[in-house]
């Protein structure tokens, strides 16, 4: 039991060691801080937000966000500050514009393509199955009738 408990606690501890967090006095600003750091990409690690990352640059960017919020900067201003320096890549939610449109449209297109394929596939299968079972039923009937007739005529040999 004890080793199991130990393993369980070890598994849980991953989420506990949070990266350093700044605390803002104003709860609204604190919320902005938390959402902003979750929307900004850590450019060194690329697949982590700056809230998740332990990279030094991520720490610096968190500090930057923290200070700008303290100075009373709005979320838009901070996002603008980051994109001015790092481009749209810094945003986990890139804005919809010419360059990024494929990012936004592609999933919808793929979903539609998939749905259309599934629709036709099912329809064809159904049609084929119907035809097949109808024909089968007919054949069976004829076979059966023949057998019944022959049995009736000759009498059951068994």
């Amino acid at each position: 039991m004890k080793p199991l408990l130990f393993i369980f606690l070890l598994m849980m501890s991953g989420g506990i060691y949070a990266v350093d967090t700044h605390q803002l006095a104003d709860p609204e600003q604190q919320e902005s801080y938390e959402t902003l750091t979750k929307e900004l990409r850590c450019l060194v690690c690329q697949n982590q937000t700056i809230a998740d990352s332990n990279a030094e640059l991520a720490a610096d960017l968190r500090q930057q966000v923290y200070e700008m919020l303290q100075q009373g900067k709005s979320r838009e201003e901070i996002v603008q500050f980051m994109t001015d320096r790092y481009g749209d890549f810094v945003l986990y939610k890139p804005p919809f514009k010419g360059k990024t449109s494929i990012l936004w449209i592609a999933p919808v297109v793929f979903l539609l393509m998939g749905l259309i394929t599934v629709f036709f596939f099912i329809r064809r299968k159904k049609a084929a199955a119907n035809q097949h079972s109808d024909a089968g039923a007919m054949e069976m009937d004829i076979e059966k009738q023949k057998k019944i007739r022959s049995l009736l005529e000759k009498g059951d040999p068994s």
């Binding site: 450019l43 060194v44 690329q46 030094e56 610096d60 994109t83 320096r85 790092y86 481009g87 890549f89």
Partner: protein, 176 residues
């Protein structure tokens, strides 16, 4: 017939995308700075901390702004290339000593040679953030008007110098 053509087309589409993906370099993020003014700063010089340097002091010259640090391993690989470039005195090379200790930085320059006309210190990484630095070393080429014309992420190789930097520098020097 259709049975074979559709999977074939799907395969070709996938193959094209995967082939493109193989050649992408996701670590190279397009810089939003190209043709924008080099962000202003006023930073202490590494060899003389009481003196400050700002991009305005370099107006009228084409200069290279190279972000480096003594803790940065790829900078060590890049260093001989910069030394070589400095020998040709084709361009003013300014170093941004990024998030480093002055002592370590000076030691590094003493042992490996100093290709920089001047290096400035950015201990807290603020200037780095203003230049969108995310992977040291990075190199910017700044023209006579103070506009950033090119950015290179990662170590500059001899090949890069010959094929990209020298032609670009020559072109920018010729501009008024």
């Amino acid at each position: 017939m259709l049975k074979f053509i559709i999977p074939l087309i799907l395969f070709i589409i996938m193959a094209v995308f995967l082939a493109l993906g193989l050649n992408l370099r996701p670590s190279e993020i397009p810089s939003p700075f190209i043709n924008k003014p080099a962000p202003a700063f006023s930073a202490p010089k590494l060899n003389a901390p009481e003196e400050k340097l700002s991009p305005a002091d370099l107006k009228g010259q084409v200069w290279l702004f190279n972000v480096w640090a003594s803790w940065c391993v790829s900078c060590r690989a890049e260093h001989p290339v910069l030394n070589q470039l400095a020998k040709q005195s084709a361009i003013v090379i300014v170093g941004l000593n990024y998030k480093d200790e002055a002592n370590d930085a000076n030691n590094w320059l003493e042992t490996l040679g100093n290709p920089y006309d001047v290096s400035i210190m950015d201990q807290d990484g603020r200037i780095g953030i203003d230049y969108g630095v995310y992977g040291v070393p990075e190199t910017f080429v700044i023209d006579k008007k103070g506009l950033i014309r090119y950015k290179h992420t990662g170590p500059v190789s001899d090949d890069d110098v010959q094929k990209i930097f020298l032609p670009l520098i020559a072109k920018l020097q010729a501009e008024p």
